[in-house]
Every structure is written in C-alpha cells, then in structure tokens.
C-alpha cells in the first residue's frame, strides 16, 4: 500500500505511535513501519521525511543529532509531551473513524 492510499493524517499517527515506543532515526522508522504492518505499509523517504519535519515543526516530536557506533551523524527523533497528548487524541479519533468505517464496510 502506498502512503497516498493512507487515510489523510494517518501517517502522522503511525509515526507518533512508533516513536512512542522508542526514539529512532528515519531509516529505522521506515523499516519498523514496514515490519510492524507485516509489509503492507511501505512508506518511502519521499513521504516519510517531509512528514517527520512537519511533526518536528509542530513541536510533537523533537530531534537530536547523535554520533553512531560507525561514527556517523544520525538524527534521532523522539516524542515530546505534546506529541504524547496528540497521539492519545489522534488514537481516539482513529478508533471512532475506523469503527465507523468498519460498521459500514463490514456489516456483521
């Protein structure tokens, strides 16, 4: 599934969710996303990085530059307090939305 097929704003929610577990850099994030969604969601850097930068500007995640074991400068993203609040509220929204869609699309 391509990111454009994602429901608007879902990518933000996914990123916040993953960063809530632990801080990580962009590449790791994209792989974690792929792995956690069992290869369904493949978000390329073309969508991932702009999204990360936007979240950083909004103040929901923050970034710091660390030097890795291989002596490379790596940008690590982590969730901020506002980000945590945002995650909670977006998760609530998502529950309501997905529940509503499921109720229509998958009638029992």
């Amino acid at each position: 599934m391509k990111p454009t097929d994602l429901v608007q704003g879902t990518l933000d929610l996914l990123i916040l969710r993953i960063l809530a577990l632990e801080s990580m850099h962009g590449w790791a994030l994209s792989h974690r996303l792929k792995q956690m969604s069992k290869d369904v969601l493949q978000v390329g850097p073309g969508s991932l990085y702009p999204a990360l930068h936007k979240l950083e500007q909004s103040g929901w995640i923050t970034a710091e530059w660390l030097v890795s074991d291989t002596k490379r400068r790596v940008k690590f993203y982590s969730l901020t307090k506002e980000g945590r609040k945002q995650l909670a509220s977006q998760t609530e929204d998502w529950k309501r939305l997905s529940g509503a869609i499921s109720a229509i699309v998958l009638p029992t």
Partner: protein
C-alpha cells in the same frame, strides 16, 4: 517551552540556513547509506545498491523541497528572495526606477499633506470624551429670516431646565477682552460660559477648579485660563492659580487652568471666534434672563443621554421651543403674529461637528478628490512604464516558467517589484509631506476648521500605508493581466521577439493614456474655472475704496469708560489728533469693518407700508468714517458731527435697503427702528437722512448687504479706526499708534493693517483652493505628458523594424511622421473628448464655489483642450524625430 522550541526552529531555518540545509543533506545521506548497506548485505553490488537506494528517494530535489516546505517559513523565504530580486532588477534600470519613484513620491506626498488637512478638519474625533454624544443645538426664527441662530438666555434657560434628552447642557459665547495686570496690556480672546459647559465637554482642569453654578449666578469675578495662555503668561499652571488679572480693567481671580490640549471653542466655529485664552462665568443679568426675541448670542452644546439618539433629541427640542412661544406675554405674541406672517420659533439639534464644518466641507473634499486624481494619473504612468518593462522581460518570464516557476510566483514577483517602488516612493512622500504641510498651512485660510490642530499624526501614517499598499495594485494590474495571459512558450521559441505586442496589451496601455488625458482635462477645467472665478472676485467692486487706508481696532474697557461723555470725548480727541497728522485725509471710526463680521438685526418701519420687517446690518460710525471709506453718496447727506450730539436720531442707509423700504418713493425722511414692531420695544425711531452706494458682504457674494449707518450708542465701545491717507498708509501707522498712546497709554491696539489687505484676506479661502488646484492640474498635466511621451517612445521603439521596412519600400519621412502624429492625436483626442464629457457633468459640483463664472465657462472649455493638444504634440516630437532618423539597414539587420 513548546512555543520556545517552535520559535527556535523557525528562527534557525531563517537565519542559519546553511546549517539546516547541511543537516538535511546529512540526514538523507544517512538514509541512502543504510539502504545501500542493506542491499549489499542481501547480495547486490555496491553500484547496484547505490542506484536502488537513490530510486527509493523518488527524486532527491523534490524530497528536499518538500522538507523545506515543512519548515513553515517558506513564504517568508520566498518574499525575501523576491525582495532581493526586485531590488536587483530595479537597480539595473536606474532611469526607470528613479522616474517611477519620483512620480510616486510626489503623488503620495501631496496626498498625505492634503489628507492631513482634510482629515483634521472633517473627520478626526474631537478631543472630548465620548465626543460622538456631543450635539450643537440652535434656535431660529424663520419668519424673520433667521433660520439658524444661537440661543437667547431665556430660551436657553428654558430648554436647559425642561429637556429630558440631554445629560448636561451648556452655553457660551466668545468675547474679546483687554488684559492688563500681567505685562503689557493686550487683547485676549475670552469666552463667557455657563458653569455646566465644562461638564458637558467632560474636561477637568489640570490645576485648581472650574467655576460653580453659584459663582456664575452671583457674577463672581473668577476666571479659568487655557493651558497655553497660563504657560505663556505665568510660566507654569501652578503659578497662575490664585493670581489676579484685569479683564477690561476689572479684577478677576484665577481659580483654575485647563490642560494644554483643551482648545475651545473649536477653530472655525460658525458663531464664535477660535480658541479662547480666558474662560469667565457667563453671569447673565436679570434683564438678560428676561428679554425675549433678542440677544441670540449664546451657542448651546449638550451631551446626549446614553440611550437618546439625535433624532429623538431634535424632536423633543422642536416641541420644547414651541412652548417658549406659548409662554410669551399675550401682547407680544399678538403683535408678532400680526406683523410677521407665520411667526414661529424652531430648533435644530445636529452633531457638534457641524458647528464648525459648515461650508468648508465641499472645497476640502474637492481638494482631496483632486489629489486622488493626480495619484491615479501617476499610477497610470507607472503602470505603462511597468508594462513596457514587462514586455522586454517576457522572455525572462518564459524561461522561468519553463524552469518550473508557478504563475503565482511570477505574479508575486511583479507585485513585489511594485511594492518596493511604492514603499520607497511612500517613504520619500512622507518626508515631502513633512516639508510641505507647514508651507500649505501658511497659506491656508484663517477660517479652516481646526486649523490650529493640524499635524502629521498616526492617522496620516495609516493613510500613507494604505495608499502605498494600494497603489501597486493599481499600477501592477495591467502588467499582471499580461503576465497571466502571456503565451510563455511562444515567447521562448523566439516567435514573439519581433511580433507586435498583443492587441490586448496595446489596448490596456492606450486606455491608461486616454484615462490620464481625460482626468487631466477634468483637473485643468476645475483649476481654470476657479482661477477665472478668483479673478472676477478680485476685480469685483466691494462698494468702497480700500487703497491708502489703514484700520486699527480699539476697544474701551467698560470700567474706565462708563459714561457716554467719557467715550465720546476719547473718540473725539483721538480723531481730532489723528486728523492733524500730516498726510491724513480723513479719519473716522466704525463698529464693523466692511468685510468683517456683522450683527444681523431686524428693523421695522413706522408706517407699515411694507408688511415685512427687514434684516439689516446695523453699523455705528464716528467722525468721517463713511467719507474715509469713500462710500458714494447717492441722495441726502452723510452723518455729521452734530448727529452724534443730542437726540437727533439720524441714519444713512444703503441703496438696496432704500429701494426695499420705499420701492417707488423717496426713502429720505422715512422713520424706522430696531426690533420688531411689538409692544415693549423701547428703541427710538430713526430718520433716514442719506442714501449711500451698496457694499458687498463678501467679494464673492452678489447680493448686496442691507446696511444702516448711525451715530454710536453709548454701549458701543469697540470701534475700528479708519484713516485715509494720501500716501502709503503704513508710513502713518506709528504716528496713529503714538496718538492713541498719548491719550490712553493702557489702551491696546489690535489688528492694525491696511484696508486693502483685509479685502485681500477676505478671499484667502478662494485663493488657497485655487492655487492648490492650479498646482495639482499642473502636476496632472506633467504626468499625462510623461505618460503619452513614454507610450509613443515605446511604441516607436517597438516598430523600428516596421519603419525600416517602410522606408526601404519607399515610404517617405512625411508618411512616418503622419503615422506617429496620427497615433498621438488619436490617443489624446479620445482622452480630450472623454474629459470634456466628464467635466461637463462634474463641474456642476463646484458651481457653488464659483463667482461670476459659469461651470460651463466657454473660455475654460476652449483653453483646456488647446493646452492638452499642444502638450500632446510636444510629447510626440521626440518619438517622431527618432522614427524619421530610422536607418533602414540597421533596423532590418536587427531582425
């Protein structure tokens, strides 16, 4: 914390761009490295791995752009780069830039200066708390020809006591006083107020207190000073309080000082002179409080209750004023109803502002419209200059579009350039206004509302900002449309290079020039009409001769000159002494100067041969005043010295008044008296002994005043000396002053000036607006010339090849000239015809400002198109010269 972090990020993206860019670079490289490592780990060659990683980015530059967009300062960055770019391009064409900035600076500067004047006079809120609730109330006796009058004391007291619309009411009148006891004696402007007036206005004194109702009713000698006056006379307000000053040689105790900003009455008020220096209780006597249908001298101001509208107050006051008539003594009421058909009192309640705006509104708004038109003409110039620039830059724009610049980006670029131009123009314009405003005010007419308060202020800065921002929209409009419509691709292919510019664009540019010409036509016409009217007014015969005559105002303080004999003896001695000065031909004194303000009184005739009473100006004379003014004697005799003694009640009347009271017969010998013919009118009967020529009240007024000259009453203590001399009257000024000082050294002399100067000043308002409009029309003409010259030059340059071909094919120079002049006359001719039509419709708006000149004055309507055609011809000369000099070889070679 969060705010700080966000701000920090934005700040860094803005000012530490290279680091942010480096970080972005590093981050992406890190991703690529990791992708590649992973690929190598799963068996790819390093090159293969590298390629795969890059593919996954889906375009490195696009990714970077999107990350930059995410920073949220994109618009700011773009604006900055637009600005840098605009400044760079403008610097590359200095002639264009300087021309445009000069035109804009001039237009914005003049607009700002005129706006400051008009805004202060007409729109700025008055410096009183909740000033929108202040109203001015007047009464009027339409049956006697006085629709609007200030209040008489009993009528004011009645409405003040009985109204339910007003939270507070007050009344005042200005009066001039001789001030002594502080330095040199001098005349000061004073105002007599009811104690309540300070509450109505809502201003408290900075030091001390204002007077109380008690003090007013008991005629206590207390005075409140204006802030400016206290400062000048005593140094500080604190030092003034408790001091004693002499007003008309009666001592008053200073009890308070108003703030410096308190200027009352407002400059230009209709019944009162400008801001007063001293405020004293009105202190009406018992007679004042009782006398009906006279003493209409006190302007009433009231403050509306919060829930009452002006309309409601007006309705209530109209009702109240009717009750005043009902309360009149039956005999008086009867007499009025008999003599004056439809006698009634009326009342009008209007916003306080109308008290001083009056007739000033229309000329001021016309001035504002005129400078607005100059600005529009200037904008059209700039628009055409921008347009021709745009055409030469079409290839550049095409290239930028091809490289990915969006349409909006180009529009923004155009607007930014316009904004840079108008911002610089605006800044210089404000400096220009700072310089020009004092100059303008020096020539401003004395009666301009709130003249003393005009300054460059924050409202003006808002105005400048608004027009500076709005102007580029006007002059970028054409170029913008062009930018949007341009077929960039065609341009890039090179086909557009020599092709004629698009029809549409040509139309817009020509339309701008046509509009300029028609607007210039309008301004020139208005300036022409005003000039002719001013010339007519200057030539008009006022009815008296003003040359070689000097006047001076003297007012005798009542406390030192109480009896008629004291007053008479002073004036007789004074006039005698002045007559003895060598060079003096006649000397006299008169209560009102011919061009000055006058008292309107009604008179009634002894044998009611004419039904109605007449409204006349009653003027008191001493000595040979009428002779000194050279009023032509038509019948009978002038006033003689013996008329001043004893009980011979003689009057001399003006020609029109004579015809009015005796349409067929001879007015000499008729008897008349002041006031309506009602019981209780104690005025003596006066006999007409002479008839003199008419005198105008204003040079621009064709209706002659109805004048009545009589020997002075004993209460007339303020007189204007009139001294006719054989040579330059100013040479005798010192001698006259010396004689006055000889007789009473404490007597201040005010307004000593030649009579012709007073006559000239009476036209200051007309002169002011006429000169301004001449300047504006000149500027409009200059800008319009610039416009058409620019367009023709540009057009000729565009058609160089065409001309070359024509010459090569055998066209002679005359044909080329005809082409260019035909183009020029087509443009200017259309503008002139349009301007003619617009002017015919528009000049009606100024017809009330014209004297002896028709709004369709044929001379003006012939001269203006001639000037414009001449100017257009001149503008076409240079392009024509260039076209004729076109060398066919060079022209074709550039192909």
């Amino acid at each position: 914390m969060r705010l700080f972090r966000k701000f920090h990020l934005r700040f860094r993206s803005l000012f530490d761009r290279s680091r942010v860019e480096n970080d972005l670079e590093d981050e992406i490289r890190d991703f690529l490295d990791r992708e590649a490592e992973q690929a190598i780990a799963s068996g790819s060659t390093p090159e293969e791995a590298r390629r795969l990683a890059l593919t996954s980015l889906e375009g490195m530059e696009r990714l970077k752009e999107e990350c930059r967009d995410a920073r949220g300062i994109r618009w700011l960055e773009d604006t900055l780069s637009d600005l840098r770019y605009a400044v760079r391009t403008l610097r590359r064409t200095p002639v264009f830039t300087i021309t445009v900035i000069a035109a804009l600076a001039f237009c914005i500067g003049v607009n700002t200066a005129i706006f400051s004047i008009v805004d202060t006079a007409l729109f700025q809120p008055l410096p009183f708390p909740e000033q929108q609730r202040l109203v001015s109330v007047t009464e009027g006796v339409p049956g006697l020809g006085f629709p609007v009058l200030p209040f008489s004391p009993p009528d004011y007291l009645f409405v003040a006591a009985h109204n339910r619309s007003f939270a507070a009411t007050g009344a005042y009148r200005t009066q001039s006083y001789e001030l002594s006891g502080v330095g040199q004696p001098l005349r000061v402007k004073g105002a007599r107020l009811t104690a309540s007036l300070f509450q109505v206005l809502g201003i408290s004194p900075t030091v001390g207190r204002t007077f109380t109702q008690e003090e007013d009713e008991h005629s206590k000698r207390v005075v409140v000073l204006s802030g400016v006056f206290a400062q000048n006379a005593f140094g500080t307000p604190e030092k003034a309080v408790g001091r004693t000053i002499l007003l008309d040689r009666t001592s008053y105790t200073v009890i308070g000082v108003m703030p410096q900003s308190f200027m009352f009455p407002i400059h230009g008020s209709r019944f009162n002179s400008g801001p007063a220096d001293v405020f004293i209780p009105v202190s009406w006597s018992n007679d004042d409080r009782k006398q009906t249908v006279s003493n209409f001298d006190f302007s009433m101001i009231a403050r509306l209750k919060p829930d009452v509208t002006i309309q409601q107050a007006n309705a209530e006051m109209s009702g109240l004023i009717q009750r005043i008539v009902e309360d009149y003594l039956p005999s008086i009421k009867q007499a009025f109803l008999q003599r004056v058909p439809n006698f009634s009192l009326e009342s009008k309640t209007v916003p306080f502002r109308e008290e001083f705006i009056g007739d000033a509104q229309r000329p001021l708004l016309i001035l504002l419209a005129a400078v607005g038109i100059v600005l529009l003409i200037g904008c059209a110039d700039v628009a055409n200059l921008m347009f021709s620039r745009m055409v030469s830059r079409q290839k550049e724009f095409a290239l930028r579009t091809a490289l990915g610049a969006g349409k909006w980006r180009l529009i923004r670029q155009t607007l930014t350039e316009g904004l840079v131009l108008s911002a610089i123009g605006g800044a210089i314009g404000v400096c220009l206004a700072f310089w020009a405003l004092p100059l303008l005010l020096r020539f401003a007419p004395e009666n301009l509302p709130r003249l003393n308060e005009i300054s460059l202020n924050s409202r003006m800065l808002v105005f400048v900002s608004v027009i500076t921002l709005a102007t580029p929209l006007f002059f970028c409009l054409g170029p913008l449309i062009n930018t949007i419509r341009s077929a960039f691709v065609t341009q890039l292919r090179g086909e557009g290079r020599t092709a004629n510019q698009g029809k549409h664009q040509k139309f817009v540019m020509s339309a701008a020039v046509v509009a300029q010409f028609s607007l210039a036509f309008l301004l020139l016409t208005i300036a022409g009409l005003l000039t002719r009217s001013l010339m007519k007014a200057t030539e008009a015969n006022p009815g008296f001769q003003s040359e070689h005559t000097i006047t001076a105002q003297i007012a005798l303080p009542g406390s030192s000159y109480q009896t008629r004999r004291e007053v008479d003896s002073l004036f007789n001695r004074l006039l005698e002494q002045i007559n003895a000065i060598p060079g003096v031909q006649q000397a006299g004194a008169i209560s009102d100067l011919p061009m000055g303000s006058t008292s309107n009184v009604i008179i009634s005739l002894e044998d009611h041969s004419t039904d109605n009473t007449e409204k006349v100006d009653f003027i008191f004379c001493r000595g040979s005043a009428l002779d000194a003014l050279r009023l032509p004697l038509i019948r009978g005799r002038l006033l003689q010295p013996q008329d001043e003694i004893g009980q011979r009640h003689s009057v001399v009347i003006s020609e029109t008044l004579a015809r009015r009271i005796s349409p067929r017969g001879d007015a000499i010998g008729r008897r008349l008296r002041i006031g309506a013919d009602i019981p209780g009118n104690g005025e003596p009967w006066l006999t007409v002994v002479g008839i003199v020529g008419d005198v105008k009240s204003r040079l621009t007024d064709n209706t002659p005043r109805l004048l009545m000259f009589s020997p002075p009453k004993d209460w007339v203590k303020q007189m204007n000396l009139i001294v006719r001399t054989s040579g330059d009257p100013l040479l005798l000024a010192n001698a006259v002053q010396h004689e006055i000082a000889q007789i009473d050294p404490n007597l201040p002399i005010a307004k000593m000036e030649p009579l012709d100067q007073i006559l000239e000043q009476s036209l200051s308002a007309e002169r002011f607006r006429t000169w301004l409009l001449i300047c504006f029309a000149g500027a409009a003409l200059l800008l319009a010339t610039l416009g058409i010259a620019g367009l023709l030059a540009y057009n000729t340059a565009q058609r160089t090849q065409e001309f070359g071909v024509r010459i090569a094919l055998g066209a002679n120079r005359r044909d080329l000239l005809r082409l260019i002049f035909w183009h020029c006359f087509r443009l200017s001719g259309t503008g002139i015809v349009l301007g003619f039509l617009v002017s015919i419709a528009a000049t009606r708006a100024i017809s009330t400002l014209l004297y002896g000149t028709s709004p369709l004055d044929p001379g003006t309507f012939l001269a203006v198109p001639s000037i414009l055609i001449l100017v257009a011809f001149g503008a076409a000369l240079f392009p024509a010269w260039r076209a004729v000099r076109t060398d066919p070889i060079t022209a074709l070679r550039t192909e």
